[in-house]
């Protein structure tokens, strides 16, 4: 590991000043991803600015029904918060589906959004990777890609975003707040992650040197009846091979409101807007759910070893929506 300077900050302006425009400096949050990447040489910062003790560790429940989540709130505190569990149960479930108890106690909300892909080629500095070394190539396309993207990828990178939390945040229209030396800004999560194209190394629309300060969830009554379901290769403590965050409100048999987002299928949490549009007003039931899933997955471009994900996501979406509607009808 490269030697590094370490500074701890207690206010946002101090954090921004210390990071400056130094390309070799990084903010250190929970460290569950960054420290690991430093050990393998994927990340080689010369300075760490420790933001773990910034006063951004609060969750504020708005009277309007929304939530404001500070960037240094840990995954554990987010998932345990009564208003998260009441207003957005799928968000609590998504967080609890990720990592282990130990890692959830360390990891933070801001860091979760910025975590890097678990593509094996990205993590192996002896191999080419367009995300790690632009222009070096993507061995995954011809190689090991059974857990890679089926949606929104490119010929330059087929890696998936590993977050569970982000999938639920995408379903519920989260907005990311940040600070820069020039002042604050906001990005809807739908615009936070950049399209892959030929620049897979550019992952987010955050301005250079920006610090994520929090995430806002607007009120969403439909989210009170929501679910996150994750498929993985072992029963616990593994990244998803596919996941769905879903919320649905059925009135008189017809879909009144619905939210759908997919995980582990793209370089970002994938909001399934085509499926949502297809479902609004439709008669709730397996037939409509399957048709909506097919409409969303028409855009899928699977590789030889991950075509199973198309069927998996279709069945997962139908199953979760069926469960939610049957429970509501009881």
């Amino acid at each position: 590991m490269r030697e590094f300077d370490y500074q701890r900050v207690t206010d946002v302006s101090g954090a921004l000043a210390l990071l400056g425009d130094d390309p070799d400096a990084r903010f250190l949050g929970g460290g569950t991803n960054l420290v690991d990447l430093m050990k393998t040489g994927v990340e080689r910062p010369a300075r760490l600015v420790d933001i773990r003790r910034l006063p951004l560790d609060r969750i504020e429940a708005g009277e309007d029904g929304g939530l404001r989540i500070g960037a240094t709130v840990t995954n554990s505190d987010l998932a345990a918060h009564p208003e998260v569990r009441r207003r957005y149960p799928a968000l609590a479930q998504a967080v609890l589906a990720g990592a282990s108890g130990q890692l959830r106690n360390m990891a933070t909300v801001g860091g979760n959004l910025l975590q890097r892909t678990r593509c094996g080629y990205f993590g192996d500095v002896s191999r080419p990777c367009n995300k790690r070394v632009p222009g070096s190539g993507c061995p995954a396309i011809e190689g090991e890609h059974h857990n890679h993207a089926i949606l929104g990828a490119s010929g330059h990178c087929v890696a998936v975003h590993p977050s569970d939390m982000g999938v639920a945040l995408a379903a519920f229209d989260a907005v990311v707040s940040y600070e820069t030396a020039d002042g604050p800004g906001e990005l809807p999560l739908s615009e936070f992650y950049l399209p892959v194209g030929d620049t897979p190394h550019l992952e987010t629309a955050l301005p250079s040197g920006a610090l994520i300060t929090g995430v806002t969830l607007p009120p969403a009554p439909v989210a009170a009846h929501s679910r996150y379901r994750k498929v993985r290769e072992r029963a616990s403590y593994a990244f998803a091979i596919g996941s769905v965050a879903a919320a649905v409100d059925v009135r008189d048999g017809a879909v009144h409101d619905v939210r759908l987002a997919f995980g582990a299928v793209a370089s970002r949490p994938w909001r399934a807007r085509t499926a949502e549009r297809t479902l609004i007003g439709a008669q709730a039931g397996a037939e409509a759910f399957a048709a909506a899933a097919d409409a969303e997955l028409t855009a899928a471009e699977p590789l030889p070893h991950n075509a199973y994900k198309v069927t998996l996501m279709r069945n997962l979406m139908v199953a979760v929506l069926t469960e939610l509607t049957e429970e509501a009808a009881r």
């Binding site: 460290g31 010369a46 554990s76 569990r85 479930q93 130990q102 360390m106």
Partner: protein, 182 residues
């Protein structure tokens, strides 16, 4: 101020203060084992995946291999050497002894530290990934075998002593019932 790659730190471990100079690259795990002779905490994968290095930081379980020592300054660190009350073993330690919650023993300090904090998380009403209904109105989930397995999934045991580990954690969760039976 010129950048520096090491710092003097004071670490508060098991109620005692330790002052030392650390290279910033030193993990809390390596500081405990290599610098402070607190070798109860074990190094397994060194990548945050196995849980052998689990310690408590301000009462919460974390993996010490992904925690830089310099960043732990000012926080209360509890290692396996600090979970007992003097000569009186922690109920989790006693349950592991009583029910053979181990085989080779290498993962055991991490399992015990993890279980100590996990029982507190459960007592505080935290749901888990296998909790049927996470809404607060549903009340705290009973600590079933499935709940214990899910909540302890961050601690691997290469000997696969899981059956006894789960039994030990369950016994520690209900010490009074355990005594009544015994």
């Amino acid at each position: 101020m010129a950048p520096s790659t090491s710092s003097g730190v004071t670490l508060n471990i098991n109620g005692e203060k330790y002052t030392l100079s650390v290279d910033h690259r030193t993990t809390l795990l390596d500081a405990l084992r290599e610098r402070l002779d607190l070798t109860g905490t074990k190094k397994g994968c060194d990548q945050g995946q196995c849980g052998a290095c689990t310690v408590l930081l301000d009462g919460r379980r974390v993996v010490s291999c992904l925690q830089f020592a310099v960043a732990a300054e000012g926080r209360e660190i509890t290692t396996i050497e600090g979970v007992a009350d003097g000569d009186r073993l922690h109920p989790v330690q006693q349950a592991f002894l009583d029910l053979d919650g181990y085989q080779c023993g290498y993962c055991t300090p991490g399992q015990i530290c993890s279980a100590v904090a996990m029982l507190q998380e459960h007592a505080a009403g935290w749901p888990s990934a296998v909790t049927e209904d996470v809404r607060p109105e549903a009340g705290p989930p009973p600590l079933t075998t499935d709940e214990i397995r899910e909540r302890m999934s961050g601690n691997l045991c290469r000997c696969a002593a899981y059956v006894s580990i789960v039994d030990a954690v369950a016994k520690a969760a209900t010490p009074l019932e355990g005594e009544a039976v015994a």
